[in-house]
Amino acid sequence: MNILLLGMNHRTASLDLRERYAVDDVGPPLTKLAADGDIEEAVLLSTCNRVEVVATTRRPDAARIRLRSFVTRELASGSQVPGDRALDEALYEYSEGSAVRHLLRVACSVDSLVVGEPQILGQVKDAYRAAVDCGACGPILSRLYQRAFSTAKRVRNETRIAERPVSVARVAVDLARQIFESLNDKSALLIGAGEMIELALETLRGEGLAAIRVANRTPARAENLASQFDASAHGLSELPEILARSDIVLTCIAGSAPIITTENVSRVLQARRGRPIFVIDLGVPRNVDPAVNELDNVYLYDLDDMSGVAESNTEERRREVVRAEAIVLEEQQRFEGWLAALSAVPTIRHLRERAEAVRIRELDRMLSRLDLDESQQAGVDALTRSIVNKLLHVPLSQLRKEVDREEVLVYMEAARALFGLDHDGAPDTEVDDALPSENGES
């Protein structure tokens, strides 16, 4: 059985190209693909950063062509041109071990745009569920995806790949937690109404703050933004008053002069009776006088400071990728061991059938010569069955072991030669009923 993977991601394809091949409902195209004779099983993953299809096949050459046509023709929407050169360059193809490794890396978020981001695992799980629901996922891909999920869990637990935040808004929350014990009783003030403020609002809303205020030069824009995030809107004229009631202040507003000065904050601190205030200034030019950081109980971070922390955290994640890759390799080898053991299933079945045929023939021959009653015949039958099972136990266990693929092939050849099994006559069985388990036993 061969495993193939075809797809494109944020590294190989532009957003424009990815948009053309992204699908919301993977069910219908997947059902169509799985019905194809060349494809045994398939899973389709479609996110904003990647479109990938994983399939198993017994005819890899035909399946490759089918997968390419599936992506280029059946997934394309709008004005897609078949044979698009940009598409050919964007598509990557993996098979066997490299396909397994790629899928594990994707699930672990090692291959993500933001390394360590948690969403991808959920998206891979959704893709797997959709494939199961439409009957496109069989025993091999099920095992592969279960392996991918457990690998992702291991990477998350055993490395620090997702420990530190890398987005500016997340870094702000992380820093706020170093100042405040809990954010549930704290309030935030966001000054501005641009994209950065909107992103920060989204993040802060999820942190369960007691109150969020949005202040802007144009109150209407503040109101528009505030209404989307259950926040209150204010004009900049209210700043002195609302500043005193805010524990976290994030500013990103256009203007040549600072809107928050040392004098402002000194007055605010008196009103706050020494309670700390965390100020994040993302404005360029800066919205907050840098001297504010010299005040006690005020912690000011500007865009450079935030970027420095985010970059350092990204670097730490990259360092953790090395450890994550080692886990991926280990899990890839375990899966390949299982797959190799699976390829021995026809040989195992043939060997059993051959042994059973010999046993029955010899038993019949012997029983016809001897005058045995029914219980004696049953005893002899059990005895011969036991002898055959015991003789086959070691070679069959060896064939079932999840070891190196090459090693399994050597054992298979040896078994065929030693037991005189017909190379061409081995039944090409379905794998479902003879799958080896995780510990190597079927």
């Binding site: 405040f180 009776r273 020494g274 700390p276 950081n293 109980n297 912690y299």
Partner: protein, 264 residues
């Protein structure tokens, strides 16, 4: 048997201190949690040592430095573990665990000789006094430890260096809350400790104040706490200043206790 329990408690505290230090530097949450677990176990073994001490034939020398210091660190550890129920303070183990080890180790430097005939006439007052005063001193130590970490955390955030920011210290707000709570409760307990000490002295020899080195050291500690509470809550001292004052107050108390021990 008492000595063996002290040895075991000191060994457990040492392991907890190493785990806390590693948890802090690596940083590793698991190791820090293991340190807290070690401290919990150490507190139990340490309590058994005290129990054995009191089960002895004679009343222990309650004012002996080598007896009081392990008791104070035991209470400090107990307070720390109690505070952890409400406030996230795992990072504080990096200060508490070494203090617990050093405080217990004092036992080996001058193990209290349980002498008969030199004991108080009113053991109930003496026990209450020692318990309250030790609790007050332990809370001053907690306030000092929280103050030290507050200053460290404040500096790391102000420095803006990513490597410093990553240090697994409790939040500023949590440390400040621990500092304030320790000062108030510590002052109340030490005040009661001084009052019961006066009652004890009066019951023994009719005097109000014994003017011994250890009594004077306790009075110094009480004055330190009184000043810390007054400036914090009376004069509206800020969190960082209070942290610095608590560190200074704790240092002064340690010097007073050591001085009392040398003069005794």
């Amino acid at each position: 048997m008492v000595f063996e329990f002290y040895q075991l408690a000191a060994a457990i505290y040492l392991v907890a201190a190493v785990a806390a230090a590693l948890g802090f530097t690596l940083p590793s949450e698991r190791l820090s949690r293991a340190a807290v677990l070690g401290l919990s176990l150490g507190v139990v073994v340490h309590a058994m040592a005290f129990w054995q001490l009191h089960e002895g034939e004679s009343t222990p020398p309650l004012t002996d430095l080598a007896y009081v210091v392990p008791f104070v660190v035991w209470m400090l550890t107990v307070f720390y573990l109690l505070l952890m129920i409400r406030v996230r303070l795992i990072g504080l183990a990096v200060v508490v665990a070494p203090l617990a080890f050093i405080g217990t180790f004092v036992e080996f430097l001058g193990a209290p000789a349980v002498e008969s005939g030199a004991q108080p006439a009113s053991p109930i007052w003496s026990h209450i006094h020692v318990l309250l005063a030790s609790a007050g001193l332990a809370l001053l130590a907690v306030a000092g430890a929280a103050g030290a970490l507050y200053v460290a955390r404040h500096r790391t955030i102000k420095s803006k260096r990513p490597s410093a920011i990553r240090l697994p210290l409790p939040s500023l707000e949590a440390l400040d809350r621990v500092n304030a709570l320790s000062l108030v409760v510590g002052f109340l307990l030490l005040s009661l400790g001084v009052a019961t000490g006066v009652l004890w002295t009066q019951a023994v020899d009719g005097r109000l104040w014994p003017a011994t080195a250890h009594a004077n050291a306790t009075l110094v500690a009480w004055l330190v706490l009184a000043v810390l509470v007054a400036v914090r809550f009376g004069a509206g001292q800020g969190a960082r200043q209070s942290a610095l004052s608590s560190m200074a107050g704790f240092t002064l108390m340690v010097l007073a206790v050591i001085g009392a021990g040398m003069l005794a």
